[in-house]
């Protein structure tokens, strides 16, 4: 299946690439660059959520658990072994993947609401531990002893390019897994029809654990990247508010497309941060209201709308 | 109203789920006091047709007429109030409530207590086993008893048109005969029936008129006798079950 792009699409993609590549030079201040760096992390997180929901039909109500665990693992590991920051992301990825296995295996039989709440139970347990295990995590003060990739002041441009490169690659890999690999195909078969997928010889058990592992891996990786960029990990990285944000971003972007949630994450996060003057409260209200509006009127999100209106062929009917 | 006038008219109905049409320009009518059967292979749209008639699913085109009046836009409960009744394929009752409570819920729209008592007596007369088990939970009934409870629940609204989706499903041949015996006798008392059935032979032996569907369209309509006479159709609809 090859995809051809229209001239307008090519122009749009080119424009995005050029803006992304030159942002440090065209941004009027560092705060914008910093905001985009974090937004890129959220893009990976949203894409990993979409891999679970949009492709395997599994709702993660505790996605912050993967993210926060990745962040804490990376930060603590590098700190206690005295390693440079670059060792953090692989550690975070492994931690996230292991959590994926830990969630995936015992909850194999669960469907729908039960499955969603099982992920919440996991992440909430971690949330409580991170909040209270003061001697290790420094509790709500947040952990800040670990190394960062670069210094926040003076080396922001370097940070930006590293974040841009790693996060783009992550999103691209997730997209490839979901849309182009055999794995993605089996995930979709499983989502659409458990029984038929089984009849086709798909090992549901194995595939379900696999998709949890992969999603956890990328969410954990995102958490680790975040930890070593910002230099501070706090329990809210594991909390329900972050999960809510991720679900909102993904739904608005368009579940089942990977790119939709990733782009929506960047845009929504950047917008809400940059509009900080309006007050966080109103940003949250706006995101919540947008989410409701999308569920009601555009359940397949912005990407879904584009698909429907971009490829409208008269042949269908 | 003339005795052989149509109680139900389905005119040019197109319907489906999420854009794909399961039914295409389908037409059908049920004459008052008759038993009309609908047959067809799996996926022919039989259950969808019933959903459209009862009102669970809105058709994208076409009309549903009850006694010549369009009910296409009405929700199910208002069609029930107009004299339709419906028994779904499986578990068309409330397992965690008693037999008596099931019957009471069946008469949800009947405000007259005397009328309710009368109808409940009629149900218990017809199905003494339900009277015996009236305080038991419906979930504890056997498959055949549950079917009878469903027929009883339906009788509580005293419908003029009863719509049954595969009443023979999950029942032994003997129980199938019992259920159809009751259906026939209710029909003879003036209740009209529209029945979808996989058990084609059984249906042909009791129904007055048959519609055969294929791919969501009308394929054939006529008396069971005519259908059995038509070699090709008989082979198509009866052969597989032979």
């Amino acid at each position: 299946m090859t995809q051809t792009f229209s001239a307008r699409q090519v122009a749009m993609i080119l424009a995005v690439v050029i803006v992304a590549a030159t942002l440090p030079f065209i941004a009027p201040n560092d705060f914008i660059i910093h905001t985009v760096c974090i937004a890129l992390v959220y893009a990976v997180l949203a894409a990993s959520w979409d891999l679970l929901y949009g492709f395997a039909g599994l709702i993660s109500f505790g996605h912050a658990g993967f993210f926060g665990l990745g962040a804490y693992s990376a930060a603590l590991f590098t700190t206690y072994l005295g390693l440079p920051a670059w060792f953090g992301p692989p550690v975070g990825a492994v931690a996230g993947a292991l959590l994926g296995v830990a969630i995936g295996v015992p909850t194999l039989r669960l469907r729908g609401v039960y499955q969603a709440l099982s992920t919440l139970a996991f992440s909430e347990s971690l949330h409580v531990v991170a909040t209270n295990w003061y001697s290790v995590t420094r509790g709500t003060l947040g952990f800040n002893q670990h190394p960062t990739f670069f210094r926040m002041i003076g080396e922001l441009h370097k940070s930006y390019y590293v974040m841009l490169a790693t996060c783009s690659v992550c999103v691209a890999v997730i997209w490839w897994i979901a849309r182009r690999s055999r794995m993605g195909m089996t995930f979709r078969a499983m989502r659409d029809d458990d029984i038929r997928a089984r009849a086709l010889g798909i090992n549901i058990v194995q595939q379900r654990v696999l998709v949890f592992t992969l999603s956890g891996l990328f969410a954990g990786l995102a958490g680790a990247i975040y930890a070593h960029y910002v230099g501070l990990v706090s329990p809210s990285e594991l909390g329900p508010s972050l999960t809510i944000l991720v679900i909102a971003m993904s739904t608005i972007g368009g579940v089942g497309t990977i790119i939709g949630p990733a782009v929506a994450a960047v845009v929504l996060y950047a917008l809400t941060e940059l509009l900080h003057l309006a007050g966080t409260v109103y940003n949250q209200i706006a995101i919540g209201a947008l989410l409701i509006a999308f569920v009601l009127f555009l359940p397949d999100g912005i990407a879904g709308w584009f698909v429907r209106h971009g490829r409208r062929t008269p042949a269908k009917s | 109203m003339a005795p052989d006038s149509a109680i139900l008219d389905v005119q040019g109905v197109t319907a489906g789920y999420g854009g794909s049409a399961v039914l295409q320009d389908l037409g059908l009518s049920v004459r008052s006091g008759t038993m009309t059967g609908v047959i067809g292979p799996n996926g022919a749209g039989k259950s969808t047709l019933l959903k459209v008639i009862v009102g669970y699913l809105r058709p994208s085109q076409g009309e549903i007429l009850l006694d010549g009046v369009a009910v296409t836009g009405l929700p199910p409960e208002q069609r029930i109030a107009k004299g339709i009744a419906y028994i779904a394929q499986t578990r068309s009752h409330f397992p965690s409530q008693t037999v008596q409570e099931n019957l009471r819920l069946g008469a949800y729209l009947v405000k007259d207590a005397r009328l309710r008592a009368e109808r409940q007596n009629a149900v218990f007369e017809r199905f003494p086993i339900l009277h015996e088990r009236r305080r038991q939970l419906a979930g504890q009934l056997s498959g055949g008893e549950a079917r009878m409870l469903e027929v009883g629940r339906m009788m509580m609204t005293a419908p003029r048109l009863a719509i049954l989706d595969e009443p023979s499903v999950g029942l032994s041949p003997k129980l199938v005969d019992v259920v159809y015996g009751h259906v026939r006798s209710l029909c003879d008392q003036g209740m009209s029936f529209l029945i979808v059935e996989q058990n084609v032979r059984k249906l042909l032996s009791v129904a007055d008129f048959i519609y055969a569907l294929e791919g969501g369209r009308n394929r054939y309509d006529g008396t069971p006798h005519d259908l059995s006479e038509d070699g090709r159709l008989a082979e198509l609809y009866l052969g597989a079950r032979g």
Binding site: G112, A248, V281, I285, L291 | F94, P95, L105, R153
Partner: protein, 302 residues
């Protein structure tokens, strides 16, 4: 010596268990409302805790307006939250209904957005401060040896139980209650009996929300209100419904007390602060070992 410490230990257990019973009633009441809504509409309402928040802030507003009677505040909270619940069900959830069922996942995600909107609306209007109401449900405490129980806590427990009992009686004995249960069990058959699933959904969501609203106004005199309080209670309610069994009314009451008692006893063994892990951990074990919950029946339909 050994005997004395054993008695001491036992007294501690009784003491903490009693405290757990006090909070357990409230957890049960919250879970009951959530379970009713789930059992009938198949929607897990993530904004359930916010209904409690709205009830609590109705009480705050009444207090600011000079009404000091907590009972008047509870009545007002029930009315306000019933109305809000009705509007949510009518204009946000009803559009998601397809063939007499609400889309489970869309309903869940929508209520998530709702929780975000409501919590932050309260924050925008009332500010982040902890707020109290002037009145109390009762003054003083009951002292039984070491056991000191605030009379207010006892009243909250009793009121929770009364509300729960009233709901159960309503579901068990009235025709409308039976119709609500019928829609939960089998929406198609309910419709075929002439029951309007739409109306029952509106009623159910209003009642479930009203219970949470009542809980909010009920606890405010004994504690304080703040905009983000709802999320914690939502998590408790989730734990309760899973432990007791999704859709099981008795299960919610039972699990409410179980959670309250275990959480309270956990302070004996767990370092302080960790008691909030009891809910998610019990929920997790239930999901893994007995997903239908302690008192739930295996889901019969797909």
């Amino acid at each position: 010596m050994h005997g004395a410490s054993g008695v001491r230990m036992l007294l501690d257990l009784v003491y903490f268990a009693a405290l757990g019973v006090m909070t357990g009633g409230l957890y049960g009441l919250l879970g009951l409302g959530l379970n009713l809504i789930f059992g009938v509409m198949r929607v897990i309402n993530v904004s359930h805790g916010e209904m409690l928040t709205l009830g609590a802030y109705t009480a705050i507003v009444m207090g600011l307006g000079g009404v000091t009677s907590p009972w008047a505040a509870i009545v007002a909270a029930v009315m306000v939250v019933t109305l809000i619940g009705f509007l949510i069900a009518r204009y946000l959830l009803q559009p998601l209904t397809v063939e007499s069922r609400i889309d489970e996942q869309r309903g869940m995600v929508l209520s998530l957005g709702l929780s975000l909107v409501l919590a932050n609306l309260v924050l925008a209007v009332f500010g982040p401060e902890y707020q109290r109401v002037p009145g109390k449900l009762a003054e003083g405490s009951i002292v039984l040896g070491d056991l000191i129980i605030e009379k207010q806590r006892l009243i909250i427990l009793i009121a929770s139980l009364v509300l729960a009992a009233a709901l159960m009686a309503f579901l068990r004995f009235t025709l409308t209650g039976k119709a609500i249960r019928a829609v939960g069990e089998n929406p198609e058959a309910a419709q075929a009996s002439g029951i309007s699933v739409r109306k029952i959904h509106l009623l159910t969501f209003s009642i479930g929300s009203a219970l949470a609203g009542a809980a909010g106004a009920l606890i405010t005199p004994a504690t304080y209100a703040f905009p983000a309080m709802g999320l914690n209670y939502t998590l408790y309610a989730f734990s309760v419904v899973i432990i007791g069994g999704l859709g099981s009314v008795w299960g919610a009451i039972f699990a409410g007390f179980l959670l309250g008692i275990v959480e309270s006893l956990s302070v004996i063994w767990l370092p302080s602060g960790y008691n909030t892990i009891v809910g998610p951990v019990l929920m997790l074990f239930t999901l893994i070992i007995r997903p239908q919950g302690l008192l739930g029946v295996k889901p019969g339909r797909a």
